[in-house]
């Protein structure tokens, strides 16, 4: 699209925005601190529109809530583009100077009238028009999105459709105006930047590019494979087939991956599994070797956040028992397998990364430490934002300044594709999964925390009163939620928070794994799974079964008080 996978603006620019379009992001729960910045912008007079199938907290301060049907994003976004083009609100100068293929988008969105979109999305044509106009005509207008956009079989289409809006209105390369994916994990950005991806070496240099291959072969003194590897979703589907051995660091794949019952069966066909983790997890029962690892408070290194900011992680305490820092374990494993790695510190590992990835070259542990010490006095923020190519480079606060990074921003016409698994008589509801404020991912950390546990002790399903009534379900009933792939037992929360016809389940609970339900049908380009849309249904449990509702719970979860004292 523009040439880089990252927030184009900085978090600090949000408070100065005049229009915020928040789509597929439950910001106050998944990114509470970014939500505080948004609240501040709204308090200072900014207009906010939230597009989400649920009445999330942010809708309570939004000017409008577009309560979109799950999976109909392309319709909404194309209809907004339709309005912007029809009413002549495009930024023609920007389009001429910085983009390619706008004609194709004009053609592609012709049929997406707001009236037709209302039929599919459930959002009124008036709301679509109003949002489109407001977005196009506000100078400082930013788009903020998360997994509600990407975790679909048409996730890439959604992102293209958003990018088309950004490009046709010229909302790029300016403060508070851009396209901002909010990253889910602390170091998603950094993990990609540092080359833990099947097609890129560190710094987005393609493994099938002979020049990059030669560069890394020289740096590492060995021959390297020119064949792109499998991405995680493909790899998980190949487990037990072409994949016969796994090394897994810091992820509970059996809890996190979609359609886990199939994966669990396939895991038995693996010949060798090495795990490196700080806690026992669900994947443990397949492990041949387990390395006790460290948590962030026990190690040195850097994380790169959502706004490309590289920041230090510092060792505060020693790991327990014989546990070691992860980077040390990796060196020892490589050397046990015949390598000769001699890094004496995490900083030395970073230096090698920086020497191979030019956008990181200007950053080092020493510089980060030195500049952090004087940040407050200089009125600067801690950390450096890539690209930062030299020792004196201050880093980039926002991307695409003075033009689009890849040369020309490429318009990508997209057409709506219906969900791969529509509802039917047996599975009459659309299931979405997501995060809550009080837990984090597999909750190996937060379920060991008294407050999170008190606020949210167990899994639940949100269901609309009308849907609950036809199924004889009352608030707080124990119910089973089922899809073609599996079922879980949870408590029902009958609430107008969800749309009629939709249900929602948090992904954090090991004893009621949402991913027993989800489909592993992926986006055709990214293979990112459709965690947000699959066909499901809910039925009330009879009371005899309901008494023993969490037979699978084997976390040591303490009640209030507990041994946290």
């Amino acid at each position: 699209m523009f040439g880089a996978g990252a927030m184009t603006n900085s978090i600090g620019e949000i408070r100065d925005a005049d229009f915020l379009f928040v789509i597929g992001s439950n910001t106050s729960e998944a990114h509470p601190i970014i939500a505080m910045e948004m609240k501040r912008a709204v308090r200072d007079g900014a207009t906010m529109v939230v597009a989400d199938p649920r009445k999330i907290w942010m809708t309570s301060i939004a000017n409008r809530h577009l309560q979109i049907a799950p999976g109909s994003d392309v319709w909404l976004l194309n209809a907004m583009a339709h309005v912007i083009i029809e009413e002549g609100l495009t930024d023609q100068a920007f389009i001429d100077a910085h983009t390619e293929d706008f004609d194709q988008v004009i053609e592609a969105v012709k049929a997406y009238t707001p009236e037709a979109a209302e039929e599919v999305t459930g959002v009124s044509a008036e709301d679509i028009r109003w949002t489109a106009r407001k977005y196009a005509t506000t100078e400082k207008a930013g788009i903020y999105y998360t997994l509600g956009i990407t975790e679909h079989t048409h996730g890439t289409d959604n992102v293209y459709a958003l990018a088309n809006l950004v490009l046709m209105t010229g909302h790029l390369g300016k403060p508070s105006s851009g396209m901002n994916p909010l990253r889910g994990q602390n170091n998603v950005q950094g993990a990609n930047d540092s080359g833990a991806t099947p097609i890129f070496y560190p710094g987005y240099q393609r493994v099938d590019d002979p020049v990059a291959q030669a560069k890394f072969e020289e740096a590492w003194g060995c021959e390297l494979s020119p064949d792109p590897g499998m991405n995680l979703n493909v790899m998980m589907k190949a487990v037990g087939k072409s994949i016969k051995g796994l090394f897994v660091m810091g992820e509970d794949i059996v809890l996190s991956e979609p359609n886990v019952s199939r994966l669990e069966e396939a895991m038995n066909d693996l010949e060798f599994v090495v795990l490196q983790d700080a806690f026992v997890n669900e994947t443990f029962r397949y492990a041949n070797v387990v390395f006790p690892a460290s948590v962030f408070a026990e190690k040195e290194g850097v994380f790169t956040n959502s706004e490309r900011r590289v920041q230090r992680v510092r060792k505060a305490v020693d790991p327990p028992g014989q546990a070691r820092e992860d980077w040390q374990i990796l060196i020892q494993l490589a050397n046990a397998a015949g390598a000769n790695w001699t890094y004496a510190s995490s900083a030395e590992v970073y230096d090698e990364l920086a020497s191979l990835a030019p956008q990181y070259a200007g950053i080092s542990h020493a510089r980060l430490d030195r500049e952090a010490a004087t940040a407050a006095a200089r009125g600067a923020k801690t950390g450096l934002q890539w690209p930062c190519r030299t020792d004196t480079d201050e880093g980039a606060v926002y991307l695409h300044q003075g033009g689009v990074m890849r040369g020309k921003g490429l318009f990508q016409p997209v057409a709506y594709r219906p969900p791969v698994e529509p509802t039917d008589e047996q599975y009459g509801l659309v299931l979405s999964t997501g995060r809550t404020l009080y837990h984090y991912n597999c909750a190996t950390q937060t379920r060991r925390e008294s407050g999170s546990h008190i606020k949210q002790p167990e899994a639940f399903v949100e269901i609309h009163p009308a849907d609950a009534r036809t199924r004889g379900i009352s608030d707080q009933d124990q119910v089973r939620v089922f899809t073609r792939r599996g079922e879980i037992q949870v408590r029902a929360i009958v609430s107008r928070q969800v749309r009629r016809g939709s249900i929602w389940i948090p992904l954090h609970f090991g004893e009621a794994r949402a991913n027993l339900l989800t489909t592993d049908e992926g986006d055709p380009i990214t293979q990112t799974a459709s965690y947000k849309v699959c066909a499901a249904d809910v039925a009330k449990l009879d009371s005899a079964t309901a008494d023993n509702v969490f037979p699978g719970c084997h976390y040591a979860v303490d009640g209030p008080g507990g041994h946290h004292g």
Binding site: I61, N187, P198, S225, K244, F247, R314, A316, V349
Partner: protein, 368 residues
């Protein structure tokens, strides 16, 4: 605000001529010039309240002393922030506060440093004016796990309630009652778990006296914050990258150290502007949890995971992975790295995969 953009005029502060930008307060100008004006109720994230009166200064031609935090700078203003009159005012004010606040540091300072006592010391305010009977009520039945309100040390600066309203936007706590009975409370004095509170703990962060304190270290009777070592790090939960201070008791765990609380750096120089959420501020118990793995494990011939030495585990892992390569080729292996781990660790996993095991089958859960 940068005075270079939107230069609005000049003031004279302590004899120095200083430029200011439109909208700046006397306190903003002083801060930038490095002139220290004491404050208790001020926080740069909040609208000025002018409530505590600690920052009163003299302005030539003004009969009354205005609060620096809430008074906009105006062209030609001549401001005095250090004078016998200002000093006398500060001492009297601080002494008055201390008639309704413990003066004994041992008793008052259980967690965070008490800035009121610090300030009384700094300005040599008399602390022997006696003590009024306490009429503020607390909420002793509030069972929330994190946030404790100590009515005894509260000075009603209302930073906590304004933060709850203006920054977190949930309005869970508020000033309640009237006169000397005014206190910090909730609707019907409910426990925080029964309010709109999201347990962000911002009220603890902004409190200047420690009246809003964190329950866990108080209950555990950890050392007061002054005796802890602060280690600046980056939060390990979501992708915002909040900066936080791990407060470590270095003597605990036989010298291996224990994280006993998390605090946020001062606003201004971090992406999070001094804010944290419930996870970043309070969810640190996992670090020292008894469920942590402490020894390497290797599965034995009977299929059971057994404790092993590092050398055994590393050798078993290396030969096990090599065995897969021997039987199925390099692409028979897959490496799952982690977006929870550091850049350096991700770099090493992909290098392990590519250089040592010669496969590009390496990825992590980066779906965004």
């Amino acid at each position: 605000m940068n005075p270079a953009n939107g230069h609005a005029g000049k003031v004279t502060l302590q004899g120095r001529e200083l430029p200011f930008a439109a909208g700046e307060t006397i306190l903003d100008v002083a801060k930038r010039a490095g002139v220290d004006i004491p404050t208790l109720c001020h926080d740069p994230r909040l609208e000025p309240a002018g409530a505590c009166r600690t920052c009163l200064v003299e302005v030539d031609g003004w009969r009354r002393m205005p609060p620096a935090c809430a008074t906009k700078a105006a062209d030609g203003m001549v401001i005095t922030s250090e004078s016998p009159k200002v000093e006398r005012h500060r001492q009297t004010l601080l002494s008055l506060y201390l008639t309704d606040h413990p003066t004994d540091r041992e008793a008052s300072e259980k967690g965070a440093p008490d800035q009121l006592l610090d300030m009384a010391e700094q300005f040599a305010a008399p602390t022997d004016w006696g003590r009024m009977p306490l009429q503020r009520s607390g909420r002793p039945t509030d069972t929330n796990p994190y946030i404790h309100f100590d009515e005894d040390t509260c000075i009603l600066c209302a930073r906590c309630t304004r933060y709850c309203d203006e920054v977190e936007g949930v309005q869970a706590i508020t000033l309640a009652n009237r006169g000397i009975q005014t206190t910090i409370s909730t609707v019907d004095a409910l426990g925080l778990l029964d309010t709109t509170c999201e347990l962000c703990g911002g009220c603890i962060d902004v409190c200047p006296t420690g009246a809003m304190g964190e329950k866990k270290p108080l209950v555990r009777k950890d050392k007061p914050e002054r005796e802890l070592t602060k280690v600046r790090s980056t939060c390990n939960f979501c992708g915002v990258g909040c900066q936080l201070d791990l407060n470590v008791d270095p003597d605990a765990r036989e010298g291996h150290g224990r994280v006993v609380k998390v605090t946020s750096p001062a606003p201004g120089s971090t992406t999070n502007d001094g804010n944290l959420c419930v996870k970043g501020r309070f969810a640190y118990d996992f670090v020292h949890h008894e469920d942590r793995l402490t020894t390497p494990l290797v599965r034995d011939a009977n299929g059971d995971l057994q404790e092993a030495t590092w050398d055994e585990a590393l050798a078993a892992a290396a030969s096990g992975l090599q065995g897969v390569v021997d039987r199925h080729g390099n692409d028979g292996l897959g490496f799952v790295s982690s977006s929870r781990c550091t850049m350096e660790e991700n770099f090493l996993v992909q290098k392990l995969s590519r250089q040592v095991f010669r496969t590009n089958n390496v990825h992590q859960c980066a779906a965004t």
